[in-house]
Symmetry: C2
Subunit: 218 residues, 2 copies
DNA sequence: AAGTTTTTATTGAACGTTCAATTAACAAAA
DNA sequence: TTTTGTTAATTGAACGTTCAATAAAAACTT
């Protein structure tokens, strides 16, 4: 009879080893030999369980997306209050979880992000995730503002989250998670209050103020 | 004497061809053969003018950064008004120029962004550019708010710009430049007015408002 | 013993680099 | 004007390396 229950163990091992290899050497130099070495197994095992390197890469990205999805939905499910603001903060917190977990996850995410533009299977996974974030945010903002404004608020907040995360990943110092969450919180609050003020004042001038007038050039 | 003055022509040709190749097939499949084919020359010429593939890649990234630098500084130099708000908008406009120029530039930028974490020469170039953007923004915000707040405003706006650009690059639809600029403008204005309101009210509570009913923190 | 898991050795394709040969431009010599 | 010499520019085939995939042997579990 066979050796039993090895498959899920090996799959988790190899996915973890893939992230470590990408963290260590980048996607271009994450060879099957290096990945296998990280997992403490031989190279042939990768084709055995994933059909090949591409299969392992896709499984790794799918794992990362699944983890992010869980991080967000768990936080939203655990909310005591059901107001928009709390849900927005839960989404923000969940999205910055991926950085907290480990540097290897962040680097792997970024590597896949870049290569998803040219690898169809990765692109599909990427787009599903992107749409979910926008969709979640838009549905929340929709509770207290018209659709068009909700769309812009969602696009802006999603961009800010991704931008903060991206800069934190590239920064050798690492991401300052507390600061990133604070900036994202403030932006979300700004979007909420901005609409409240507009609907209260009922003015038709939603555009910008004139903060200061200066001269010199930096 | 030989055919003279070919070097600057070939260098420009090959850098252009590199971006096209990366746009077409991604950094991983941007082989010297493909790049040479795009430029209409033979493979050997790359080593002749750039010392090798790595040299060409570095030169390509340097070109992109130089173009961005020019786009920003030209817009700032051409400003009629010298107030903070105008300068911020010039920086924003300049940063979204790189997307307008062409898709190949955006894709190349993103590819280098991801690989800069593992290639030291690219990382150095990347960091110089990052610091310049933050430094520019921080100096501008510094004109009308304390240093700590200016730092946060700069970090937030830089993240929003990069996030909008990143999402636009990944989106097959392409970046909606007008919308991206509008969202960045609004965020910049929010940072400016936020401080004005705080300094006018002279309250010691610079934190968030209360848009909807809530209690706990996510 | 029987069958699955795992290793090891091998294969063929693809890559970047190199370099001897060729081409083209120009100046000097005839 | 024509010829010859010189040299940068350019080619492309050959080379050595590296990689993922494969298959057959080995090890291990039931």
């Amino acid at each position: 009879m066979p050796k039993v229950g090895m498959e899920p163990i090996r799959r988790r091992q190899l996915i973890q080893a893939t992230m470590q290899a990408i963290d260590e050497a980048g996607l271009a130099d994450a060879t099957v030999a290096r990945i296998a070495r990280h997992a403490g197994v031989s190279t042939g095992i990768i084709s055995h369980y994933f059909g090949g390197k591409d299969g392992l890469m896709e499984a790794t990205m799918r794992q990362i997306l699944t983890d992010l999805r869980s991080a967000v939905s768990e936080r939203r499910a655990a909310l005591a209050d059901d107001d928009v603001r709390s849900h927005l903060r839960a989404v923000i917190d969940g999205n910055f979880d991926r950085s907290q977990v480990s540097q290897s996850v962040s680097k792997t995410w970024l590597a896949f992000w870049a290569s998803s533009m040219h690898r169809i299977p990765l692109e599909r996974l990427q787009r599903v995730n992107d749409r979910r974030l926008i969709s979640n945010l838009c549905a929340l903002f929709r509770r207290c503002m018209p659709l068009n404004e909700a769309r812009d608020s969602a696009a802006g907040l999603a961009a800010l989250i991704d931008g903060l995360w991206l800069r934190g990943t590239l920064d050798p110092t690492g991401l300052d998670v507390e600061r990133a969450r604070r900036l994202a919180y403030e932006y979300a609050d700004y979007q909420l209050t901005r609409h409240m003020a507009a609907s209260l004042n009922a003015t038709d001038s939603p555009t910008s103020p004139e903060p200061s007038k200066e001269r010199t050039h930096g």
